[in-house]
Amino acid sequence: MSNLIRAELQKLFSTRIWWAMLIVMLLLTGLSLTFIVIFAGDPAQNGAPGLPALDDPAWLPIGLSTASGGTIFTMILGVIMMTSEYRYQTITGTFLTTPQRGRVIAGKLGAGVLVGMLFAVISLLVVGAVCVTAVLIAGGEVSLTGNRVPQIVIGVFASLALYAMFGIGLGALIRNQIAALIGAIVWAYVIESIFAAIPALQVVGKWLPGGGSQALMSIDVDTGLGRPDLLPAWGGALLLVGYAVLFAAVANLTTTKRDIT
């Protein structure tokens, strides 16, 4: 199995998509971090929640949690890792080398976890450096052990890694690259946000991948619409793994079984 995971990593790193995705992730994460730095200390107004000031110990976890915005990118990368095999018909060579198709998908899931963690490391390093600098310049004190900082770091690792798995499972189920990408993005940006924003729907929303991801980091910031109802962090992790495995298992019984012609 370790051979298959290494082969999947080689596949990803021998084309250019991974660093393009990495750059876009850092740019967009940087953008939302910039706003959180600029509007730090703004008081709550018109019912909208305010942000703590930079020198307030409560700011650092909020700043760091912007790194979790990378989930969408590791998910897209996961979808691409799976669907580009069909798009470029490299799936033929892949299945000739490893005719046990379930093992190919398992290898990809394993590689997806590692790639997600790599993205998490890079994102956390960049976001962390900006946050710490901003806090220090504002004259605040940096504590990397208090204020849920360790939990957020673990949450970012877990959610980026698990979203990559999620994307691979989704891609195995929907072999058409464009369809799978559109499905993933619509899901993450439209459906998830509806379920996350409306309290009445949060009963369902907490069982969706986005709810699982929020639970991982316990981002229980009051958005003005009431505190979100979330699973415990371990429950969120299990939920995301569950989705990936479910998709992969269903794919293994359906799409992956199809003839390669």
Partner: protein, 302 residues
């Protein structure tokens, strides 16, 4: 046990019966040509052998087993399928290295295989810029990675230039006759494989039409000699025991005498011949008949 064994294989795609009750075997040390017009079911047969396509009925076995049950398939079977199945952004070397990693083969095999197929200079180039012939060579390189003893090649000559085809012929013969491999090579062009193969299997519209050694197929039946002459040569030929058809004025098809005997007869009778041609073999005839009246109805089956 045969290296490749196909037993009563059938496969339909929708209403199209792509392969219909086909059986044949390929033995180690021989090259078998799998011939038929486009859409005849060649690719479906080969993909069934490689467990890429699940047959509806029958079996397609390599070394007596289903391909999907092989623990180290690249060391037992080398396959060349469509030349397009490469990621355009990946280099030739990386393509082969990835296969080596997944198969547990040393990475050095990638460069050795590229060397063998004459792509050493292009190893670091992205496949997107490769010509069809280079992709075909790369595909062949991937088949060589595990140094297998069975080769399954689907139209490997497609896109190769004449020198490449010449090289491929020699290479396939070398694999079979010197390294003892079993080689199954498909083609829709008889002349491409005629000089390479030991045995021939012909398929049309999913059904097996003919199989046997190349020699037995070409020696069967009446082979004719085309003779062109302005003189009235027919009585002399018939007196010598030949059967003669007049194709058109001045062009005769002669059965029962070989070209040398006809030449001697012409000299004896002081007749000027402007053409003496051994007509194409029976195999060519069979093949042409198949390719001519077969509509490309099953083209979608590819």
């Amino acid at each position: 046990m045969s290296a490749i064994e196909i037993r009563n294989l059938s496969k339909s795609f929708g209403l199209v019966r792509a392969v219909d009750d086909v059986s044949f075997t390929v033995e180690a040390g021989t090259v078998t040509g799998y011939l038929g017009p486009n859409g005849a079911g060649k690719t479906t047969t080969l993909r069934s052998l490689l467990s890429l396509v699940t047959p509806d009925a029958g079996e397609a076995l390599v070394n007596g087993r289903r391909y999907a049950s092989l623990e180290h398939p690249l060391t037992e079977v080398g396959a060349v399928l469509e030349a397009t199945s490469f990621h355009p952004g990946r280099t030739a070397r990386n393509h082969l290295r990835i296969m080596c990693t997944a198969a547990g083969l040393p990475a050095t095999r990638a460069d050795e295989a590229l060397e063998t197929v004459g792509l050493a200079d292009a190893a670091g180039k992205r496949v997107g810029g490769f010509s069809l012939g280079m992709r075909q060579r790369l595909a062949l390189g991937s088949a060589l990675l595990g140094e297998p003893k069975i080769f399954i090649l689907d139209e490997p000559a497609n896109g190769l230039d004449p020198a490449g085809i010449q090289w491929l012929r020699g290479f396939l013969r070398h694999l079979a006759h010197e390294r003892g491999a079993a080689v199954l090579v498909s083609s829709h062009v008889l002349s491409e494989v005629e000089q390479t193969v030991d045995n021939v299997v012909i398929i049309a519209r999913g059904k097996l039409v003919r199989q046997g050694s190349l020699a037995s197929l070409t020696q069967n039946g009446d082979s004719a000699v085309r003779v062109r002459t302005a003189a009235d040569f027919r009585p002399a030929l018939e007196a010598a025991g030949a059967r003669v058809d007049e194709v058109e004025p001045g062009l005769l098809r002669v059965y029962g005498l070989d070209a040398e005997a006809i030449g001697q007869l012409a000299l004896d009778n002081r007749v000027l011949l402007t053409e003496v041609t051994q007509e194409r073999s029976d195999l060519q005839q069979v093949f042409l008949e198949l390719t001519e009246d077969t509509p490309v109805a099953a083209e979608g089956v590819k």
